[in-house]
């Protein structure tokens, strides 16, 4: 049965891609953009660009107003208590690096950092390298066959020496929601700070950072239908106060002399230099657009397409799913067939999916794989996209076998 996406035409690139015979199923890597975002970018550049937080002139005031307006919208989107808890960065990766450097002074040799075994490199390497710098122990929380952090083991491994827990909300490889509530509560009870990588999770459903009760939450705009080059760091007020400044330059400073300087608190103290102004304004427009959608209709559409994806894969002979995907995406391998060969033949047929290690090499190695194919959905995806993918997959397998 055909399942259309009522929001497909809001994303002009989908039609353009279709004219190039491309079926886009790589939304977990980056998403297509709504017309509302294109309009906002065009309006900002077409009506007068200006730097923010500096100039007294009218264009500067308007740009600052729009820029700070997005901060309010992001705060509302995450249900943060105060817009000052939202720091703009250049991406989720730079937000996580900000944390790993900004919190470095809190660690002493022998302290522990806990990460899950399924982290994207962006939420692994900053902590791994911090552990090397400070002589810390990086504790890796094991992952079950289904694709969740093994709660029983994790609660044993997160102990009094654990100073920080860094974990994904939704796995970018396995499509599994992680048991954040018990993990974060336990980490807090042990006196550890918590960092949630919401890069995939923020895209599906609405999440309340106060309810999550994490210390920090990170996401990137481009996966949430916004522009690239913009990331968001939310922090609990006390947690933000723990951060040391890490990048220095314009507008993050209170007073500067040749030999010394004092710096602003969050958020501006962590936004050194000219921020991605157009991108931030564009993210604001995207959030307005997303907020105008019927949350339940979006959730129902995504869930039903995802079910269709998982079932279709499971029905095919020799296809092995990685974990038990619950949302947004599914990764798989095929017995006796190299994933690069399948990727090659899907590409030839205009199917845009991701092949390889998905920036999670340790997880793939743990699963005994050197790569997998990942199909991921956006709110503009429809059942025809999946049908074209399955037809191309069958055709490719027929050729290879």
């Amino acid at each position: 049965m055909f399942q259309p996406s009522p929001w497909r035409t809001d994303f002009p690139a989908i039609a353009a891609l279709q004219r190039q015979h491309q079926t886009y199923l790589d939304s977990a890597a980056t998403t297509q953009k709504p017309q509302a975002l294109l309009d906002a970018l065009s309006h900002y550049y077409g009506h007068g660009a200006a730097n923010v937080h500096r100039a007294q002139h009218l264009p500067g005031a308007l740009a600052t107003q729009a820029f700070e307006g997005t901060r309010d919208k992001v705060a509302a989107w995450l249900n943060a208590a105060d817009a000052r808890q939202i720091v703009f960065t250049h991406g989720a990766t730079s937000a996580l690096n900000l944390l790993a450097y900004g919190l470095e002074h809190r660690f002493e040799a022998g302290d522990e950092i806990a990460v899950s075994g399924l982290e994207h490199h962006a939420n692994l390497l900053p902590w791994q390298q911090l552990a090397h710098r400070r002589n810390l122990r990086l504790v890796v929380l094991p992952v079950t066959d289904q694709g969740h952090v093994d709660l029983e083991q994790a609660l044993q491994l997160i102990g009094p020496r654990t100073r920080l827990l860094a974990i994904s909300q939704l796995s970018n490889v396995l499509g599994t929601w992680q048991p954040l509530t018990p993990l974060l509560a336990h980490a807090r009870a042990q006196g550890a700070l918590s960092v949630v990588d919401g890069a995939q999770g923020v895209v599906h459903g609405r999440h309340d950072v106060q309810q999550l009760a994490c210390d920090f939450y990170v996401f990137s705009s481009h996966k949430l239908y916004g522009p690239d080059g913009v990331g968001v760091l939310y922090g609990r007020q006390d947690a933000l106060a723990l951060l040391r400044h890490w990048q220095y330059g314009g507008e993050m400073v209170q007073m500067a002399d040749y030999q010394s300087a004092s710096f602003r608190p969050a958020p501006l103290g962590f936004e050194a230099g000219t921020p991605p102004i157009a991108g931030v304004i564009g993210l604001g427009a995207t959030l307005d657009y997303l907020a105008s959608l019927d949350v339940h209709a979006v959730a129902a559409h995504e869930a039903s397409l995802h079910q269709c994806l998982v079932r279709g894969l499971a029905d095919r002979e020799g296809v092995r799913l990685l974990g038990s995907p619950e949302a947004a995406l599914a990764s798989f391998v095929i017995d006796g067939v190299h994933n690069a060969d399948i990727a090659h033949l899907l590409t030839e047929q205009g199917i845009a999916v991701r092949a390889g290690h998905h920036c999670a090499m340790p997880l793939l190695r743990h699963l005994g794989l050197d790569g997998a194919i990942r199909v991921s959905l956006g709110l503009y995806s429809d059942s025809d996209d999946l049908q074209r993918f399955f037809e191309a997959l069958d055709k490719g397998l027929e050729l290879l076998r």
Binding site: A340, D341, L399
Partner: protein, 136 residues
């Protein structure tokens, strides 16, 4: 352009290929013709990094002429490697350095496989070959 008989044969076959399916079949056939590498060739030194598949390139210079062997665990890539080797086998370093390999793959209708994106092995292999040509 002095093409070896094998290279001429490849060019003719690919020029006549209609559509992606036929090209894919040809690639697999060429891949099957690639002489398998022995375990002693699959060393870390011969490994070409920068590909998501395992790729090895064995290069020996014999009396000023390059002799290559190559292998991969991915089938399509083996086909691409076979097509590469028929074009470069027996060349001297200066000939190899002067050779436009992108043009070769474009002639074969396989230019899309040259993309420098991470997942593609051919790009990394060409870089390694260019390195060898300038060192030799």
């Amino acid at each position: 352009m002095n093409l070896s008989p094998e290279a001429s044969q490849a060019l003719e076959a690919f020029e006549q290929a209609r559509g992606w399916e036929q090209r894919a079949r040809l690639l697999m056939q060429w891949g099957d013709r690639l002489e398998p590498l022995g375990d002693s060739d699959k060393t870390e030194t011969n490994r070409v990094h920068g590909c998501e598949s395992l790729v090895w390139l064995v290069a020996v210079q014999d009396d000023g002429q390059w002799r290559f062997k190559a292998g991969s665990d991915a089938r399509m890539l083996r086909g691409l490697l076979a097509l590469l080797l028929v074009r470069v086998q027996g060349l001297a370093s200066d000939q190899l350095a002067a050779l436009d390999l992108s043009a070769w793959f474009t002639q074969l209708g396989l230019e899309r496989q040259l993309s420098p994106s991470r997942s593609n092995g051919l790009h990394a292999v060409l870089l390694r070959m260019a390195e060898l040509a300038t060192q030799g």
